[in-house]
């Protein structure tokens, strides 16, 4: 990775962030607290270690196969940057094109407004059930809860989302929301929650997938309303795109009478031709395949083929606040492949739940705090060792480490009172600039040996504020004498 200088602090424009009290962008506890619980779960760590190493190998093989990967990545980065620079124009064009082809476009300032719009549209159809294609945007805004609150039955149809929904769990990965569950745990969830499931169901992945097929088949055939997200929305033609594997997406996009698509405003791409870049970058980075099994595209309504009523909901929910930050706005380039999660040494150990947001891992650590305002996710910019692996694998070259550093500086600058760490470093700076003070400090540090009781490192359970440092780092026991003292003793002055 490149060494970078943190950019200027966010110019405060007062653009609204994602509102509190709705959706899933904020955790109940800070990252270090949640991570400590997760790290004690040996099963979780084993499941994650197995899954992420599998997918890392697959991705590396199919990426190495393309001689022009670097050029595609650079084109992807440049396309996203160019799109953001004219985001307003592209969205207006998208709206014109979708409308011209028989769709209806709605705009939502935030999660509450988007949930209201979708709820109203579903209720207007008279349907009591909704089938859903896996979508990060609708997870972000808590759409399922909003629909259930008015008495609608909501069915997630992606296998991993179904596992999460049936297990009354939370997603922990962008691509594979149930990555934290192994086959035996999934079998247990299916056996317990799917009505009429074969009691002889084993934990073989094929059998589990067939159980999901049987469970959802009838729901697809009777569904009248579907809700989806979108991977790309093409401005010049009004074409929406959903990239998937199982065919559940096709079922939802094809069979119901009404389709409602919720799309973050940053998902617009200017031209049809731009897809030639993203459809090469995305599948290889996410599932490690040359191409995902199914990609569906549609422009408005097609007579005699698919839903005859189409609504597109364009969602802000803090994205314009992210756009206002010249350094942080790169996080909006994300195409949700999840390659950065799979390579992250922190994610691999803590899993996704510790991040508290539907966007976990490195991209989540830069996206969530910006969508909510850094004060609501203050621990996330620190949830990284800044090793740079995320930047290396990002198919659109988002410089995640630099944004993390930028957000840390923003968080520190926002503090009204200096914290213990800042005070300690201020004291250290003072001591190091004065030889007499420095020697005194070194001698005083020897008192630390009293806590060590002969061990090479100090115990983690030191009193605060020192514990803030020692609970996640080993502090070596101070030596009996300093280097200068030893030198003087052995060689004289």
């Amino acid at each position: 990775m490149t060494a970078t200088v943190p950019g200027p602090a966010r110019t405060f424009l007062g653009l609204p962030t994602a509102p509190r009290g709705v959706g899933h962008l904020r955790g109940d506890e800070s990252f270090p607290d949640a991570a400590r619980t997760a790290l004690r779960d040996g099963q979780l760590r084993a499941n994650l270690g197995h899954a992420t190493s599998t997918i890392r190998g697959k991705r590396a093989r199919v990426v190495a196969e393309l001689p022009d990967w670097a050029e595609l990545r650079e084109a992807g980065r440049a396309l996203k940057a160019a799109t953001m620079a004219r985001l307003d124009d592209h969205l207006e064009e998208l709206e014109r094109q979708v409308t011209a082809r028989g769709g209806t476009v709605h705009w939502a300032r935030d999660a509450n407004e988007a949930n209201e719009i979708v709820t109203r549209l579903v209720l207007a159809t008279g349907a009591s059930e909704v089938v859903k294609v896996k979508s990060m945007a609708t997870q972000e805004i808590g759409l399922n809860e909003a629909l259930e609150a008015v008495g609608l039955d909501v069915f997630e149809t992606d296998l991993a989302e179904l596992i999460v929904q049936l297990g009354e769990d939370k997603p922990s990965h962008i691509l594979v929301p149930a990555i934290h569950k192994n086959r035996a745990e999934i079998r247990e969830i299916f056996a317990r929650t799917i009505p009429g499931v074969d009691p002889g169901l084993t934990d073989e992945p094929r059998q589990l997938a067939m159980a999901a097929r049987a469970h959802l088949r009838e729901r697809f055939l009777r569904a009248r309303v579907a809700v989806s997200g979108a991977n790309f929305g093409i401005a010049e033609t009004g074409t929406l795109t959903v990239v998937e594997s199982e065919g559940n997406g096709r079922m939802c996009l094809t069979l119901p009478e009404t389709l409602i698509t919720v799309m973050g405003i940053e998902k617009v791409v200017p031209t049809w031709r731009d897809l030639e870049v993203f459809l090469q970058l995305l599948p290889r980075s996410s599932t490690g395949e040359r191409m995902n099994p199914y990609t569906s595209t549609w422009a408005g309504v097609t007579p005699g083929d698919g839903p005859q009523e189409f609504h597109l909901v364009l969602l802000d929910n803090g994205r314009t606040a992210v756009l206002a930050d010249e350094v942080g706005r790169e996080a909006l380039h994300c195409i949700r492949c999840s390659a950065c999660l799979n390579v992250c040494p922190v994610y691999e150990r803590t899993g996704g739940h510790a991040y508290g947001s539907v966007y976990p891992g490195p991209i989540g650590a830069v996206l969530s705090p910006q969508l909510t305002g850094v004060e609501d996710n203050a621990s996330l910019p620190y949830a990284s060792s800044l090793c740079g692996a995320c930047y290396e694998v990002c198919p659109v070259a988002i410089d995640i480490p630099s944004i993390l550093v930028h957000l840390r500086s923003e968080h520190v600058e926002a503090q009204e009172k200096p914290n213990a760490e800042a005070l300690a470093f201020r004291g250290l700076a003072r001591a190091m600039s004065n030889p007499r003070l420095w020697h005194l400090a070194q001698r005083a540090s020897r008192l630390g040996r009293l806590f060590a009781r002969g061990r090479p490192t100090l115990p983690n359970a030191l009193p605060p504020p020192i514990s803030g440092w020692t609970r996640s780092r080993d502090l070596p026991t101070p030596p009996t004498s300093t280097f200068v003292e030893s030198w003087t003793r052995e060689h004289g002055r």
């Binding site: 160019a82 985001l87 307003d88 589990l208 097929r213 065919g247 030639e276 314009t320 206002a324």
Partner: protein
């Protein structure tokens, strides 16, 4: 202010009055002509990539499509199928159709779930990624036709095969409802282990003519 005007005005505020003009995007990646131009090598690449998804490819000469479609149905349905189990796209070439098969009409789409197999043409086949693209034309049929029957047979002709994704997309009309198919439906949601066959057709048979 409407939500629309509000969001657009926020974007303008965020980008500021003197936003930088977007830089030209360098498309220095491989475009048309980067793949084997000769028919045989291109066909071999397509076959290799489609089979890698655990789909089956049957090759034949252009005059032998009908017999090969029947062979594909034998293999895909395990033999013993009746013409009525098979539904074909309304615009599928007459000479490719199994005799007596059902032709898709404007029946409710969900009724297609009663058929065991469907036969369609494609609009484009992309060799490098093993992708078949159906474009909703009469020869490809509506989207539900290639989705609900559990076995999908696609007929590809040599002139429809292109090397890479850029060439493939350039041949397509983005205003049509497109379905890009790369192998049978699959999932990797359980321990990231790929399993073929979830909600879409569990069996994909490709007849490559020429």
């Amino acid at each position: 202010m409407s939500a629309r005007d509000d969001v657009l005005s926020r974007i303008r505020q965020a980008l500021g009055p003197d936003r930088t003009a977007p830089a030209e995007v360098a498309r220095s990646y491989r475009g048309a002509g980067a793949h084997p131009a000769t028919g045989a090598a291109l066909m071999d690449l397509l076959v290799d990539r489609v089979e890698d998804y655990r789909a089956t490819v049957l090759r034949c000469s252009p005059g032998d499509v009908a017999a090969t479609v029947r062979a594909a149905l034998d293999q895909g349905l395990g033999g013993g199928w009746a013409a009525g189990d098979v539904v074909v796209a309304p615009g599928l070439a007459q000479e490719w159709r199994p005799e007596g098969c059902d032709v898709d009409d404007d029946r409710p789409a969900v009724q297609l779930a009663d058929r065991a197999a469907s036969v369609t043409a494609v609009a484009v086949a992309i060799a490098e990624t093993g992708t078949l693209v159906l474009d909703g034309s009469p020869a490809c049929g509506r989207r539900a036709l290639s989705l609900l029957p559990d076995c999908l047979v696609c007929v590809v002709t040599a002139d429809q095969v292109v090397g890479g994704v850029p060439e493939g997309l350039a041949r397509l009309d983005p205003l049509r409802p497109l379905t890009m198919v790369s192998g049978p439906s699959a999932t990797s949601d359980i321990e990231l282990e790929r399993v073929e066959g979830v909600h879409g057709p569990r069996t994909l048979m490709v007849v490559l003519a020429g």
